[in-house]
Symmetry: C2
Subunit: 490 residues, 2 copies
């Protein structure tokens, strides 16, 4: 429809030009036609919006089909719990309170196992506790006489609801029992207040507890048995992919700077994902501890250590951000100085990104890798080289050089002869930041080592695995080597 409209306007415009006069055909259009045109425009606009919305929705599903599966799981759980309405014996069994089972399913069903278990266990525990407390309060209230009963119940609701609400602000309670505190308030006030009107309060509380038990059990069964998404596994995967992104960004930035070969921009900005992943890491680590042993993860897998690894990765990402801003600066660097530093800088970046990639592999396979330390050794050697390059630049530039260094200086002198200092600064800054990145990479290695110790990662057994490892590293190593050679041949 949008096409039609455009075509119409195009025609109108052409008519005017062909005439050469100022008589425009617009006033000829009647009110009805105007209305029709406007409606048509509105509909086409709406159609376009709807189409864009559907496109977006399709993308969401196509990018992560597990989301679609989750939706069907919710539908399945709800249909199953509806059986309590459709089947007479089941309906009579819960005394017509099937609504609580239905509500439980809607409220506790989350996309992943950890969050669902957290909510289910919180809901069960809080319902039990609140139910018993409310029965106690009702017993006291019913003994205080008809006149005081509402006041006793009202005061207890006010006090306990306030206290439970306050507990949700305390960090240690919030991380473990936030949802439980809400359910506690709900059940307590519900049962306590109902006591004033409902005759058989004990049956009432018992029914609420049993229907909630049915609802939560059903949720747990569906979430675990039908294509489960484990929070721990997600966190594990996120950590691995973030490490890969970091490594790619680091190597990409430095390689592009020194070789002027443009890389994939989207991949090079991968470090930005690392910068913004704190919130999701925290919530995943929080939910993952509710999950039972699954796959390669035990019940007490050290999920908190993943948060520490995340912090180390972010600290690397901050430095890569600084590196990137230094590379994108308008201040151009002198080619000769770039050439002076390129070998050592490329070595530092390639060895530290290889180390990070190897760490990603370590975490992914949950196997300690001796190769990491090889890369770290290489990296430290490269950092030393870089520091020597910085020193040799100083020998070249420093007026107070002693006579014995003159020999070494001469070839560099030719290259840097008349370079303005401002064109040296960006490269020196870059080198300095690279050294900082090397330090932070070592810290990252430390936190992954800590994880390996806590989670008891397997060790590689001698030769066979080592050679397999070597084969695997080659493709990663090839790239920088290739670019290095390309650079040296220029």
């Amino acid at each position: 429809m949008a096409h039609e409209k455009e075509a119409f306007e195009g025609v109108e415009w052409r008519i005017r030009v062909a005439d050469g006069s100022s008589e425009v055909p617009v006033p000829d259009i009647g009110l009805a036609r105007k209305f029709w045109l406007r409606t048509k425009g509105l509909i086409s606009c709406l159609g376009l919006n709807v189409r864009m919305f559907l496109k977006k929705a399709w993308d969401v599903g196509a990018n992560d089909p597990r989301k679609v599966i989750h939706c069907f799981k919710v539908g399945l759980a709800l249909t199953l719990v509806s059986l309590f309405y459709f089947m007479r014996p089941l309906y009579d069994g819960v005394g017509g309170n099937a609504i609580w089972a239905l509500m439980t399913v809607v409220l506790v069903f989350e996309p992943n196992v950890g969050a669902t278990l957290y909510k289910c266990l919180n809901r069960m525990f809080a319902t039990f506790l609140a139910g018993f407390l409310a029965l106690g309060v009702h017993w006291i209230a019913s003994r205080s006489g008809d006149r005081f009963e509402p006041f006793v119940v009202g005061a207890s609701v006010f006090l306990l609801a306030s206290m439970a609400t306050f507990s949700r602000f305390i960090p240690s309670v919030k991380s473990l029992f936030d949802y439980g505190a809400m359910v506690f308030i709900l059940t307590f006030s519900f049962v306590a207040v109902s006591g004033y009107r409902v005759e058989k309060l004990f049956d009432f509380a018992h029914q609420r507890i049993s229907t909630i038990f049915i609802g939560t059990s059903l949720c747990i069964l569906v979430i675990i048995l039908v294509c489960p998404i484990w929070c721990g596994q997600e966190l594990h995967g996120l950590t691995v992919s973030n490490m890969d992104k970091l490594a790619h960004s680091l190597q990409g930035c430095v390689t592009q700077y020194f070789t002027n070969i443009n890389g994939d921009d989207k991949k090079m900005l991968g470090y930005k994902c690392v910068l913004s992943s704190k919130a999701s890491e925290d919530s995943m680590a929080n939910f993952a501890r509710w999950e039972p042993s699954h796959g390669r993860f035990n019940f007490r897998h050290p999920w908190k250590q993943y948060q520490k690894i995340g912090a180390s990765m972010r600290s690397c990402a901050y430095s890569i951000e600084a590196l990137n801003s230094c590379i994108n600066k308008e201040n151009k660097a002198a080619e000769s100085i770039k050439k002076h530093f390129s070998t050592s800088c490329l070595k530092v970046s390639s060895s530290s990104s290889s180390a990070i990639r190897e760490l990603a592999q370590t975490v992914k396979e949950m196997k300690k890798s001796p190769t990491v330390f090889m890369f770290i050794g290489e990296m430290n050697k490269a950092v030393e080289e870089l520091q020597n390059d910085l020193k040799s630049l100083s020998q070249l530039l420093d007026l107070s050089t002693t006579a014995e260094n003159k020999e070494y200086e001469t070839p560099l002198l030719e290259a840097t002869g008349s370079v303005p200092f401002m064109e040296i600064v960006p490269v020196v800054t870059l080198a300095f930041i690279l050294i900082e990145i090397a330090v932070r990479t070592e810290a990252l290695v430390g936190s992954v080592e800590e994880l390996a110790k806590l989670a008891d990662f397997a060790t590689h057994d001698g030769n066979s695995k080592k050679s397999e490892m070597k084969d695997k590293i080659v493709p990663n190593e090839e790239k920088p080597e290739g670019t290095l050679e390309a650079l040296q041949s220029v």
Copy 2:
């Protein structure tokens, strides 16, 4: 109790030493005594934990008394809604379905107005929509015969619940109607499935809608009338305080580096708050748009611009992080080089932090400030000076200096005579990062300007306000000037 335990252990140890023998009194202790000691230890440990927990809880309340007020508001709202149980006419009015009003209060009451309104409006809208849809489905199902009725209802629940769940994954729906989608599923499945058992379904749906209306209205009244916490105001305040923190960190780091006077470490690390405030900014901006006009904010206040300002601030904070890592490096910088750069670096940091502080003031008072541009002008001048300092360092170090520059060089030469290049690098890097920070400060000014335009900030009227402004700036300016003088007199 912890004290007692320590005292006991202390005494035991002293007895052994006094004896000088290896006869320890431990084996003499009987089983009962052992049990008593262990129990005592456990109790004292528990007591300590409880005391620490209470201390933490007290701190939460003392740091933000509004949280305590919020808890009492929840209690108040629940007690008010309980009146529907305690007063016969009210209870009969809603046909015994007062439970929905109670549930609504527990589920939608949030600490701030925006989040509560978001949930209330979502709940009302979704309940209406789902209620009508469910009545329609029930009408169709009841006409399809007894045998097919459960299948029609079951299929509709499965389909609509799946679709509504999927819609929660689409970002534009999630930001506006996440809670609404959940309530839609709940109400739809509830009313549709109940249709199979409940005789007067229309009355049932009508009661659910009216009780939810009562609950939400009560929540809105309590949240707005009793000490309201406006999300918009919070976001506004967070933005202002984050800017102040940025300014303080920037100035603090640079001043401490060049003057060796230790500042307040906690304040200097304030930029870390800026790094981690994205999630809260996003959620606040999301809720703030539900809030009606309040204080100085209109209904359509450009809250999204605050997110952009936040992004600009984070970009500054990344650079400050780089600055900090550069300052804390073990590589010591030469004092003479530090002295060479100190004046211009301190000027850049003080003028850009003054500019940021002035921006904070602009946002806080919602008044455009001409002084910001004065500071930005100063900053740019200082950046030029810094660049000149870098160039003069180059003239000093560069071998290819021409004869006419020699005069200017001589005094610097004396200072830097025999400095190793590695001791120059940290300062050069710092200078380079400072220049980057100046660029990012200008970007921050740009985003605040955009906010001023969108939110129609008042302009300062000529002289009176300007002089008032000047008085205000003096304290900010005094500090760096003072440290500068202190440095120069060294």
